[in-house]
């Protein structure tokens, strides 16, 4: 029976993806994309990847949706469509179907039994005192990737801020809506945001031993921040604020500092002090959660609008 469920889910997922790429207009395509993200989250659950499902739902569907809807608003109402080539669509369809078929053949030809690092992780995980293997991979075994990925996040914010009209990147980003928030949005923000913050903190706390962790928690916190901005409950923060910059740097550079400290305590870069692994890992998680939340939120808000004139 679970196979039938999986098959139905796959079909609905594909229908959603087709809806995104075949809908001509921007707004329906983005709305379809949000739904597609939800379905993808369900698919991840079925692949025994709850950590990924949480990430996909929070980032892939939730925050991406805000970014994309905002983009639709900024686009000119009548997109400049180049003269449509009659042959383009059939040709593209043939190319895509060929690619999909080839990949399907590759998937079917993957070796059995599948190679896996699960045993290595299971052997090394007890030393870290963590219960969640994915957190172990992210923060211990492949900590370098995670550290640099934090830098990618920071850098994409720098890239967004570089688009500001003010070369010095001062001022606040424009609010998400050009008008005051309507009462229901404000109500939603007031009521839901505190609960959401609790859920975010819960995911962070759970992440050491159960699915969840810094990414998921940071994304939920960012989403709640955006909800508050959309409900006019808080103003967008000023980009030049020293405190804000410290929050942005806390994650990547706190992690880096722990990495250097590992040299002293564990004899190796990005090693954790023996005996205190879990405490240090959780401290790192807290720092990167804060940075992820602030960075994601600011990336969505867009470039600062320049210095304010009183």
């Amino acid at each position: 029976m679970s196979l039938v469920f999986d098959a139905v889910l796959c079909l609905v997922l594909l229908a959603g993806a087709l809806g995104v790429v075949t809908t001509g207009a921007a707004r329906p395509a983005v709305i379809a994309f949000i739904g597609y993200g939800l379905l993808l989250g369900l698919a991840w659950v079925r692949l025994a990847a709850v950590d990924v499902a949480l990430t996909e739902i929070a980032i892939g569907s939730g925050i991406s949706g805000v970014v994309l809807l905002r983009c639709v608003r900024a686009l000119p109402a009548e997109p400049l469509t180049p003269a449509p080539n009659r042959m383009l669509k059939p040709l593209a369809a043939v190319v895509s179907i060929t690619i999909a078929a080839a990949l399907a053949a590759v998937v079917l030809a993957l070796p059995e039994p599948a190679p896996s690092r699960a045993a290595d992780v299971a052997a090394a995980l007890p030393a870290t005192d963590l219960g969640n293997p994915v957190t172990g991979v992210l923060l211990v075994f492949r900590a370098l990737d995670t550290l640099l990925e934090k830098v990618v996040l920071l850098l994409s914010l720098v890239g967004v801020w570089a688009l500001s009209r003010d070369p010095a990147c001062r001022g606040r980003p424009a609010p998400l809506s050009p008008e005051p928030a309507p009462a229901p949005s404000a109500f939603l923000a007031r009521v839901l945001a505190p609960i959401g913050v609790l859920v975010g903190l819960y995911l962070l706390w759970a992440g050491a031993d159960h699915p969840g962790g810094a990414f998921q928690s940071g994304a939920v916190l960012a989403a709640m921040g955006l909800l508050l901005v959309m409900g006019d409950q808080i103003r967008t923060p000023a980009a030049e604020s020293r405190g804000l910059r410290l929050l942005l740097l806390a994650g990547p550079f706190g992690f880096l500092a722990v990495g250097f400290a590992g040299w002293a305590t564990a004899g190796v870069f990005l090693g954790y002090p023996p005996g205190a692994e879990k405490a240090v890992i959780i401290a790192v998680e807290v720092a990167i959660t804060v940075s992820i939340a602030v960075t994601l939120g600011l990336i969505v808000l867009g470039p600062p609008a320049g210095e304010e004139r009183p």
């Binding site: 679970s2 196979l3 594909l14 993806a17 995104v20 790429v21 001509g24 395509a29 994309f33 597609y36 993808l40 698919a43 991840w44 692949l47 025994a48 990847a49 990924v52 990430t55 996909e56 892939g60 925050i63 991406s64 970014v67 994309l68 639709v72 900024a74 997109p79 469509t81 040709l91 593209a92 190319v95 895509s96 690619i99 990949l103 399907a104 998937v107 993957l110 896996s116 690092r117 699960a118 045993a119 992780v121 293997p133 994915v134 172990g136 991979v137 992210l138 492949r142 990737d145 990925e149 996040l153 994409s156 890239g159 967004v160 688009l163 009209r165 070369p167 990414f215 992820i292 994601l296």
Partner: protein
């Protein structure tokens, strides 16, 4: 295990959808969406690889799962940067269309 295979095929089909979107999209936003679908398909295939590698008491190989989480965040960053570029481009073009005073900035 066959369930994982189904999702593997779905991942392959999503890659096809994404390529179609990239090829036929009329504007940059459509391409960004196509890229996201394509990326989703690739991640899903990675998830299938992880699921097939279940063992040692885990429901799936945790290494690819961790990599997918990193990948999703990076893909989001890319989407957001592309959208920011597009929004700015539209604003600059609209300014230029209105009065041609768009190039007074340094």
């Amino acid at each position: 295990m066959t369930g994982a295979l189904l999702f593997g095929l779905a991942g392959a089909a999503l890659v096809g959808c994404g390529v179609y979107g990239l090829l036929t999209a009329p504007g940059a936003l459509g391409r960004v969406l196509g890229f996201n679908i394509l990326g989703g398909g690739v991640f899903l295939m990675f998830g299938v690889v992880a699921r097939r590698g279940a063992g040692a008491g885990f429901g799936a190989d945790p290494v690819p799962q961790a990599l997918v989480i990193t990948g999703i965040v990076v893909a989001f960053c890319a989407t957001a940067l592309a959208v920011a570029l597009l929004v700015r481009l539209c604003a600059v073009q609209a300014e230029a269309a209105r009065g041609g005073d768009g190039d007074k900035e340094t």
